[in-house]
Each structure stands twice: as structure tokens, then as C-alpha cells.
Symmetry: C2
Subunit: 366 residues, 2 copies
């Protein structure tokens, strides 16, 4: 739901989209101002050279915000790249897997499976555990990470299946994480990881930018030939401007992170997301028409998924919700039912409105 609108919109829309997703209204308002006239330059942020001091200082502030919000030390480089997490699926093995080497992967969903497949182009992949046996409805536990793997790759939140890793394993080898759908949603101990990456388009900003946080000491060790644009060291040396960066996507990410900081940082986001999750999951469990699709202890606070106890009502509920301007809740075809993404920028009021709508629908069909 939109509050304190500076812009007129026709209807109050409750945006539960899985990504691209709802962003903070004030970040969007500030982005519009930057498109109009960036820092009083009389030009749009999309029309200026990325080598101007005005842009370079924004890039530097964006990096500083990432470092501050997540507590990233100087041992790590912070990069803003292009190509999404899908490009990281190949950049990770390009940079970290030796020729004829081995990497370990935890297979927890569609994106994790894509990462596994991509790593297979580069060397041997040891899938240490998978939840594919139960349609990725849980996070595997009690697996052993091989000590001879170049790295161990996890996906901390599974957007499609609605599961989330609520604890991070101790890894005897460098830990690599795709955090596309839960970065900045809660505190994270970056020091447990050697590499973290995330497409921006959930909690961080619009589509078109990819965040990479990488421990510099793990790079340059594989002996592998790396195409220039796939080489993290090239982007570290170029300070994310080896080539022209995706200016607007970084700008709106920066404004979104400024909002996260203003709201109290990632600890405040976690509290906010826990509140939303508590309200929504309580209704999923209480309402006779709905049921969750995942193991209780692995429920995602980003993408709650649920189906209906009477599947024949799914189309009706979708229509019922859409008439109330609840959008983006149709579940991915791999799960069916509903996926109601509750990223940082989604207010509790939208979740409450969804819950009220679920109650109303239940009464109608009692």
C-alpha cells in the first residue's frame, strides 16, 4: 500500500510481486528527481558521464552503504555489475573452480539447480544434498561438505518454492551464496562467506544491477583463462566502472539502501519482515481454505507460498484478490497456488489487507 503519496495514483495497489518488486516510495520519488535534474546539474542522471565527480561520489556512497548495512570489511570488494544472478552462475566457477576441479552445491530450488548445471560446464559438481525429492519444499540439513571442493555454493532464499535458510552452515571450504531474494532483509555475518551475490530486483533496487561481495584473497588462484568481463579482478581494479555501469539501476539501488538505513538498517528490516511473516503465516495456518507448501522451520520470510485446500477455488481467490488490487500473488507453475512476496518495502498494512481478504473469502465460502 502506498502511504503519503507525493504522486497521484488511481488505486491503492498491494504489490506482492516476486521480483521486480515493490520499492520504497521515497526512493522512487528521489529517483524521479534524479532523472529530472541530477544534483542540480541541469541534466538527467541517465545523461551524464559516469566519469563525472557527481556520479563517482554516488557510486562511492552506494558502496559505502553496502559496507555499512552489512558490516563488510576491507578484506572484501563490493561490486555493482550487470547480468543478474544467472551471470554469476558462470562467473563463480570461472573465478573459483580450478581446471578439472570440483565444487560443492546445495540444491534447494530452481535457481540453485541452474547454478549446479552451469558449474557442470566448468568441472565436477558435488551436489551435497537436494530437496528435489519433495519438490524443494524444505532445506536439507545434516549433509557433509567435502573438504576437497574449491567452494560450497548455497542459495539462501528460494523465491519460487518459498523456503529460506534460517541458519548458515559452517563450511570447511569457501562459502558462496546466492542471496538474490533475501539480501538486506536481515543481518548477515559476511565473514562466514567468501562470496555473496544478488540480483538487485527484490530488496535492493530495480532490475539491471547485480551486487557482488567477494573476499579478495580467494581470487586469481585457478590458473583458468577468464574472459575479461567475467573476471572479478578486472571489475575490482575498475572499481565497478571497467566499462559503463548500469547507472540508473545502481542509482535506484543506492536510494533504496539509503531508505533501509534511514528505517534502522537490516536489523529493523528483519523485525519488520518477521512481523509481516507472523501475520501472514498465522492466517495461512488458521484459514480452513489455505495451507502452506513448505516445511514449517524453513518457511521464507520473503516469499510465503500456499495452496488451497479446495484447489477448485484457486482461480476464484485470485480474481477476488485482484479485484481488491492485490497483485503479483499467482504462484509459480512449479508450485501452483500462491506466492505472496513480502520484501522489505512491502508495508505490514498490505499483508494485513491480504489477510483480511483471505478471511473474507473464507466467510464467503463457509
Amino acid at each position: 500500500m502506498r502511504h503519503n503519496l507525493k504522486r497521484p495514483i488511481m488505486t491503492k495497489v498491494h504489490n506482492f510481486s516476486a521480483g521486480p518488486a515493490i520499492l520504497p516510495q521515497e526512493a522512487i520519488d528521489e529517483a524521479i528527481e534524479g532523472i529530472r535534474n541530477f544534483k542540480g546539474m541541469g541534466m538527467s542522471v541517465v545523461e551524464i558521464s559516469h566519469r563525472t565527480p557527481e556520479w563517482e561520489s554516488t557510486m562511492a556512497e552506494a558502496e559505502a552503504l553496502v559496507r555499512e548495512l552489512l558490516g563488510v570489511s576491507d578484506e572484501y570488494a563490493v561490486l555493482f555489475l550487470q547480468g543478474g544472478a544467472s551471470t554469476q552462475f558462470c562467473m563463480v566457477p570461472f573465478n573459483l573452480m580450478p581446471e578439472n576441479g570440483k565444487a560443492a552445491y546445495l540444491k534447494t530450488g530452481t535457481w540453485a539447480s541452474n547454478a549446479v548445471k552451469e558449474a557442470g560446464f566448468f568441472g565436477n559438481v558435488d551436489v551435497v544434498a537436494s530437496s528435489e525429492d519433495k519438490n524443494f519444499s524444505y532445506i536439507p540439513k545434516n549433509y557433509t561438505i567435502p573438504t576437497d571442493a574449491a567452494y560450497f555454493h548455497i542459495t539462501t532464499n528460494n523465491t519460487i518454492f518459498g523456503t529460506q535458510m534460517h541458519s548458515i552452515p559452517d563450511s570447511p571450504v569457501p562459502l558462496v551464496a546466492d542471496m538474490s531474494s533475501d539480501i538486506f532483509s536481515k543481518p548477515v555475518d559476511v565473514n562466514k562467506f567468501s562470496l555473496i551475490y544478488a540480483g538487485a530486483q527484490k530488496n535492493m533496487g530495480p532490475a539491471g544491477a547485480t551486487l557482488v561481495i567477494v573476499k579478495k584473497s580467494i581470487l586469481g588462484k585457478t590458473g583458468r583463462k577468464i574472459p575479461t568481463m567475467m573476471d572479478y579482478n578486472v571489475h575490482i581494479k575498475g572499481e565497478s566502472m571497467f566499462n559503463t555501469p548500469p547507472v540508473f539501476a545502481i542509482y535506484l539501488s543506492y536510494l533504496t539502501l539509503k531508505w533501509v538505513k534511514k528505517m534502522g538498517g537490516v536489523a529493523a528490516m528483519e523485525k519488520r519482515n518477521q512481523e509481516k511473516g507472523a501475520v501472514l503465516y498465522a492466517e495461512i495456518d488458521r484459514n480452513s481454505l489455505f495451507q502452506g507448501t513448505t516445511a514449517m522451520e524453513d518457511r521464507s520470510l520473503m516469499n510465503p507460498t500456499f495452496i488451497m485446500t479446495k484447489p477448485e477455488l484457486e482461480k476464484d481467490f485470485l480474481k477476488f484478490a485482484e479485484e481488491r488490487h492485490i497483485v503479483g500473488i499467482k504462484g509459480h507453475r512449479s508450485v501452483g497456488g500462491f506466492r505472496t512476496s513480502t520484501y522489505n518495502a512491502l508495508p505490514l498494512e498490505s499483508v494485513q489487507f491480504l489477510v483480511d481478504t483471505m478471511k473474507e473469502f473464507e466467510q464467503k465460502h463457509a
Copy 2:
């Protein structure tokens, strides 16, 4: 210079930036409206799923505009990707150069040299001609393209050095062109090419999108293993949405191309760019304080470059121009002097204002 401003700006800025660069005011105004409320959805264009019909129709219209403006037949795929031309430097050999194969390159500047270097990771590179002997101040002619090369790669406009290919060679092998800095600035016979690519951030839109036009029949022939995101066929199959596309960069590119069409298409752009070039180059040649840096017949209509006959005056002229809100004219360090980019969206009035400023400076220093 800004005309008919819907937005208030403090000063009239004449934006000669080399890229990111000036964009049409009405495209920017429409982009702001889309960020505010896209197609009346009550959400920003950056907040909606890329799988909504509203976005999918914009993607389809963007592709249709590219096809219409450049006359692209169904033999070719039109793709909107990420990563800039620098990523294409490796995607081209990944997709077109066989293992242990050979490709031919024309070396006409910094970016062409980077493309040559990158191709060297993949196989043998035959540099058929180079203008490096005279600091890339001309376009080589009378070279022979080897018939056993997998493809021949050219850079149609050299942003840094201010040269442009005013005729396209007949090639006995598939012709590949980096058109980053002159695409949509004039008509082009796409049928002469097997692959055209361009970073958006000159004539097409903001940074963050890359256009690829590729003849489908040349793909899938190398036997080379290609990482998923580097494979043109993956993006063709996914209709540029194999993964989340850079929504805003594509949107503003689409709006810019709509403006090109409304203004009369690429033929009208060529006329407009020729007028600007004639005015500016005439002054460079007339004014006793300035001189061009390139061969007359290879002068770029996108990035006129010039130096001063009294180099000690360069700093003064830069300051003199900047005081008059002429921005982005400092030459690249490889050439020195000035580079005054005159892309499609730059009005003739800005060029006239620059010329008047050059005249005024000459009088002051007579």
C-alpha cells in the same frame, strides 16, 4: 539545449557527453511518467513483474521499433541484453569462433583493440589492418579480408578518436559490427551484416542495455561449449527474457526509439546529424585556434574531435565553455583536446552555441 521543457531546470545545459549522453526530452518525460505509474497500473515500471502483459507488450514494441527503424528482416533475432559492448567482445567469439579457429578484425581504436584482445582468448586473430600507426586518426582502406576467417569484425564509429566508417566493406565472411556509437544515427543495410551490437548509452538510451541483431543461421556452428548467459541462442529462445531483463534501460531505449521514429526515422537523424557536423567541422576548419585530429574523409558525425593550435589555451577554452554551460567536451586522454559528441538527441542549437563560443574565444585571443 532543452526546448519546451516540461520540467524546470536552472540553466540551459549543452550536453556534448560521449556516453552516457543527452537523450530526447520527451523520452525522459515519458520515462518519468512510467516510473510514477506505468500504463495506469498504479505501480512503477521498475516494480512490476517482467512477465506481466503490460511489460511484455513494451518489450515486443521495442523489438518492433528496432526492426522498423533499421529494416531488420525475420532472418535476424533482435535481443536486448546486459553487459555493454565489452561483454559482446567475448560473446561474439564464444558464439562464432570455432575451437582453434580464426577471426579477422579491423583495428581502428581503443574499443576495437579491446575486441581484438578478447578474441585472442578464443583463437587466432588476424588484424587485417590497423590505424594505430597514426594514433587511430583514420580508417584503414584497401585491406584484404581472409576468406578462411570465421568472421570479420569492425567498429563503425570510434568514439574516442572521432573517426567513422562512411562506407561498409563487402566481406566474403560473416560481417560483425560494434555500432555502439553510431547505431540509429543513419540508415544501415542490415543485410550486409551477420551480427550488429551496440551498448545503448549513446543514441539508443541509457546505460544498462545492449542491443544485439544477429542472423539466426550463423549460430550453433562452432562446437564450442558456451556458458548459458553467453549463448545467443539461449536469449533468442527466451525472447530476451531468459532471465530478468534490465527493465528501465530497455524502457527508456524504447521511448528514445519512439522519438526517433516520430522525428522521421534514421534518415531524418542522418540529415540532422549531417547538418550539425557541417556547422561544427566548418568552424573547426575556419577558426585559427582549432584544428581537427582525424583524416577529413573519416570524420565522425557522432564525436567530432579537435585540438588547439596553441595547446596552452586548452584549459582556458574548457573553462570558457564550461562557464557557458557547455559540458562533456574534454577530449579523451589518448587524443587530448576536445571531443564534442553530437548524438541524435543533441539539437543543432547546441552545436551553433558551441560554434559561437569558439568564435568568441578566438576574438578574445586574436
